[in-house]
Symmetry: D2
Subunit: 93 residues, 4 copies
């Protein structure tokens, strides 16, 4: 269940790996790799990005929402709405 | 920004509408409606279901997470993890 | 790899099961079942709907695209575009 | 409706832009940009990747499926199955 909550360094490490994967996609296209294999790799990069997104969402709820809620109910509610709008965007992407 | 936070009655109303849409899908299949039109309708029902999901997630963060966090940090953390796992499931569905 | 290509009866059977699941969601809301459990069930219904969608897409490519392509290249291209637009809608739903 | 069918150069141009966006995400994390803003950007990069995927799927159906179908029905069917499995992977990513 843990694993979504990650440190800044871990985020950066994951994003550097994703950057490498996107460069790999360019080589695949350049080398005319079979399109279904490129699609499989795209699905894998998308999944890696979503996973970084879940880590950030975890942080947002764990820290921003709670800290704001300690200030006032309204501040907490505003942070919850931001979280939900962010999840809606992830779902539609 | 609001609109995700909805009442129990509103949830039920939406789900009854979705049930009607799923029955409509059966009629479409039964009447051999053109498959792309059925696919468009499936995308619309899926979107409606996700929207109910976002409403429930809103409630979970707004109430369960906060109430638990007031009890103890550990209780709050456990509810956050549940929320993230639920979002991960929605993303993969 | 097969399993996506299904018959009309199989589509109807799956949609009736999905209809039952949507009714089940209403009972869950009515009985105030814990929201994360409802979310898990919503993810499962969404997955079932997507699976019906993949079956229809399979049919569309297997039959409509090919039949049209035998008529003319333009007719085939038009059906491919419809397929891609349908997949784009599924991805965004 | 067009726009999904793109050339190799266009694919590469899009992927280079996506690579730049992933580097941008690293800077956002490094500069402690507000997590909801990073999430919004992640949704945008994911959408761009999905769009490249739809372009590849368009090509696959337009060319690979048809060419194979001209050879034999079995060859065509095999390519359709690959396409559907690829879409299923995109949906789950």
């Amino acid at each position: 269940m843990a694993g979504y909550s990650i440190t800044k360094d871990e985020h950066l490490k994951r994003l550097r790996r994703i950057e490498g994967q996107v460069r790999g996609l360019q080589s695949m296209i350049d080398d005319d790799v079979y399109c279904v294999d490129v699609l499989t790799q795209i699905a894998s990069v998308t999944k890696a990005l979503q996973s970084v997104g879940l880590g950030l969402l975890d942080e947002h709820i764990r820290h921003c929402v709670r800290d704001a809620a300690e200030e006032s109910d309204e501040a907490g509610d505003a942070k919850v709405e931001e979280a939900i709008v962010a999840v809606a965007r992830l779902l539609k992407s």
